[in-house]
Amino acid sequence: MSTTLLFEQLLNGLQYGVTLFLMAAGLTLVFGVMGLINLAHGSLYMIGAFACAAVAAATGSFWLGLVASIVAAGFAGVLIEMFVIRRLYDRDHLDQVLATFALILILSEGCRMVFGSFPLYLDAPGFLAGPVTLFGGFQYSAYRLAIILVGGLVALGLYLLITKTRLGIRIRAGEADREMIAALGVNIATLYTIVFAIGAALAGFAGAMMGAIQSVQVGMGEPVLILAFVVIVIGGIGSIKGALIGSILVGVVDTLGRVTLPGFFNLFMDTAAANSVGAALSSMSIYVLMAVILIFKPEGLVSNNA
């Protein structure tokens, strides 16, 4: 296999990982602060993508669409938190799973009612549509490169938000001891709504960015949601740093597995058999990765208390 192809796939994996991080960050933040497992996080990803596609189609501007995705998903997040999620904090995980599963049904079918069953298409903005030439004449999709950069910036921004701002201090304090910060005069209910809205907006933003690569359709958030679960299990639930490490790991392993495994089996099998075995095993690779990590570190790579 050529180095160029390998490098290109490595970048694809990185891009996928960055998108996963935007999803996983919200999930892990919500779990860390509120102790809530939110299956409907994938629906917020979908809402972001649909908002972006609809606004971009109406105005012709991808950038307005991107803004709309953040606003729509954030706003949906606030509504969902205030009307449903808020009642679930004191419930056990089973109730949380079921209620958010119900939200998936409602949001997916609601989206189908509004936009229909056919996928929408979203084009990347013109100047990012072509390839860019990196060092040594190596060409790579400008849009995917932009996703990597933007994702990296968001990760940095999130890190600064959590470690350097007053809101971040409150979020960390909320993770550590809910009663105590309430006693110190912080409005817990508002804090929770803000955290949930931040997570929702990140998911919507990720959906909008991926919408230009995949098609925008109902149910598009679910595969990403499950991978995001794998990511936070690997990284350690509640840890943003763990989510970042886990996302990159999952993105790269998944992408490279798809490219390298069929070639690997081709060394001692005929091509057709190697392709089918390789495809089947590569689709399992990240789950095997998760199982291995769980055997050695059941609490994930980065412990919650770190």
Binding site: V97, I106, A280, L294
Partner: protein
Amino acid sequence: MPNLSRETFLNIIISLGLLVFPFIATAMDEPFYITLATRVAILSLAAVGLNLALGTGGLVSFGHAAFFGIGGYAMGILASHAQTYTPIFTWPFVIEGTNQMLIIWLVAIVMSGIAALFIGLLSLRTSGVYFIMITLAFAQMIYYFMISWPTYGGEDGLSIYVRNQFPGVNTLDPSSFFYICLALMFAGLGLSAMIKNSRFGAALQAARQNEERLAATGIRPFNIKLTAFVISGMITGLAGALMADLNRFVSPTMLSWHMSGEIMVLVILGGVGRLYGPVVGALIFIIFEFIFGGMTEFWQFYLGLVLLGVVLFARGGAIGLLAGKARHD
């Protein structure tokens, strides 16, 4: 104990209703209703399996579709090989396909049991949210494996032409097949009642309520929970084989996480930890699907609303509503 007897009364009514249902459907000249009732029986059995882990053992498995689908594929693979007269394996020994339900059930139970053992060994090392996500992830792993493995139909699934055979019964007759499924559903209910009232069941409930105390009495909670998880997976796997036989079709959809969610919804709609909770849940689900699915293609939207309402406001499910609170046992 008026509540308890009310629940028992409800259970008896439901059982009798299901037993005479084919006669009612035939009298109404609606043979399709028998197929619906068969789905109720099969989904009930799947949910009985989950209820053992979830209701009695407190193990919130979000990956029971894995066992349901493995059972389905056990039927699909065995029957498709029988139908083309090709062996499944020729090395190290020859394994032929079969169209005998009894063998298919056995294979479905064993295979889903093995899968549950592996998944359980890994995921029971964790608890709470981790457990939910890991069972989900393992089910997805099997789902993606079946999608990308082309030998047995990949994404398109696997069809068989004729329903499999049961000694002495004409399985092509809808009523006969319904009674087979119903008998297995009652067997599943009987088994789960027996387990719940046994020493093992007491230990399992103790593992749900307080693991440290159970450990202090000298019983390892891990072994108890793993055993319950495996039995639970086996029951759901058997239901999967029946469902595939009913549809004469198996596809990765049976393995998808929507299926896991659906089985869980059945348990919750009926009432967690209640003996007949899964049956009532399956009844409500199928009736709901039949009525609203006929009126609007967006029936799942309304299912979501109902489910949300049940979770937020009607804890205890339908049996809780009809027969009062569960005894605290």
